[in-house]
């Protein structure tokens, strides 16, 4: 009996010994879950899917937002997803408007001014993405982060549209 107990204790010890190396890897899932959001990591490449050349004919590219996230906007099941899809839709509308205003302004410029505007827009895109990276990092949860990010993008896009509209007015 005593030997049996000793054997059981030995098994437990071995079991514990085998598990202990697994304990550290058990931690990363907890800390890496935020990183599941590709936009949340500072070291991950900026979510700039566009090339930094806003060439004259090309519209201002749309940023990638949580491409890893599987959200079915045709059949949203929760309020969280409904909000996220509405935010995406609103952003897309704002982006379309910006592109329209951008192209109008561009058409009124000389070629050197167009080149300068391209530089401004490239800088603006970088700012927009960095700023919305920061803003969305202030909330937790992948879907909520995505919603906040889209709302941030929408707000900045509307601001930029107003600025370009002001530029389009004759001096």
């Amino acid at each position: 009996m005593k030997r049996l107990l000793w054997f059981v204790a030995l098994l437990l010890a071995i079991g514990a010994g085998c598990r202990s190396p697994e304990t550290p890897p058990a931690l990363p899932p907890a800390t890496s879950s935020p990183a599941a959001n590709p936009t949340a990591s500072a070291t991950s490449p900026p979510t700039v899917t566009y090339t930094p050349t806003v060439s004259p004919p090309s519209p201002i590219p749309t940023p990638a937002v949580n491409s890893a996230q599987t959200v079915d906007c045709n059949n949203p099941q929760t309020q969280e997803v409904i909000d996220r899809c509405a935010a995406e839709q609103a952003y897309n509308a704002a982006d379309a408007k910006l592109n329209q205003v951008y192209q109008q302004l561009r058409a009124s410029l000389t070629s050197s001014e167009q080149a300068q505007l391209t530089e401004v827009e490239t800088a603006w895109l970088e700012f927009r993405d960095r700023n919305c990276d920061f803003e969305s990092s202030q909330v937790t949860g992948e879907i909520r982060q995505s919603t906040v990010r889209y709302r941030c993008l929408e707000a900045l896009t509307q601001d930029r549209t107003a600025e370009l509209q002001a530029q389009a007015e004759p001096l």
């Binding site: 001014e113 300068q116 401004v120 800088a123 700012f127 700023n131 920061f134 600025e163 001096l171």
Partner: protein, 135 residues
């Protein structure tokens, strides 16, 4: 300080009007800056240029203050993100204002137009950061 801010507000329509007549800036008088410039009533180009610079400096100080306050509330990961955002904003601000005042380059009012653009963008950014801090 409060006086300066009041001046800043009063000067906005002045700068806007000046911007609207960017090409006409060359027609403004070429008076030397007065020893003591009254920014509330600045009407000659050198004074307007000087005062516009002052207003921008004030706006920049306010932004820096807000930025530091916000940074102090953040964890290191978010601080890094805010630094990246702010660096990108500075790049955007400078390029945008260069573009905005491109047609006044060489004109006597150019410094005021540039300062006016920088001031406007800076004030807007301050409000944005204040909103983020409140959230």
């Amino acid at each position: 300080m409060t006086i300066t801010k009041r001046f800043s507000l009063l000067a906005l329509p002045l700068l806007t009007a000046a911007t609207a007549t960017a090409i006409g800036a060359a027609h403004l008088t070429q008076a030397q800056p007065a020893p003591q410039i009254d920014c509330e009533n600045a009407s000659d180009t050198p004074s307007i240029n000087y005062c516009a610079g002052l207003f921008y400096e004030e706006a920049d100080k306010a932004l820096n203050q807000t930025y530091q306050q916000l940074q102090s509330t953040l964890g290191s990961d978010q601080q890094e993100k805010l630094v990246a955002a702010q660096r990108a904003w500075i790049e955007y601000r400078d390029k945008n204002c260069d573009f905005e005042v491109r047609r006044s380059i060489g004109g006597t009012g150019y410094p005021a137009y540039l300062s006016g653009c920088l001031e406007r963008m800076t004030e807007k950014r301050t409000i944005e950061l204040q909103r983020l801090q409140a959230n």
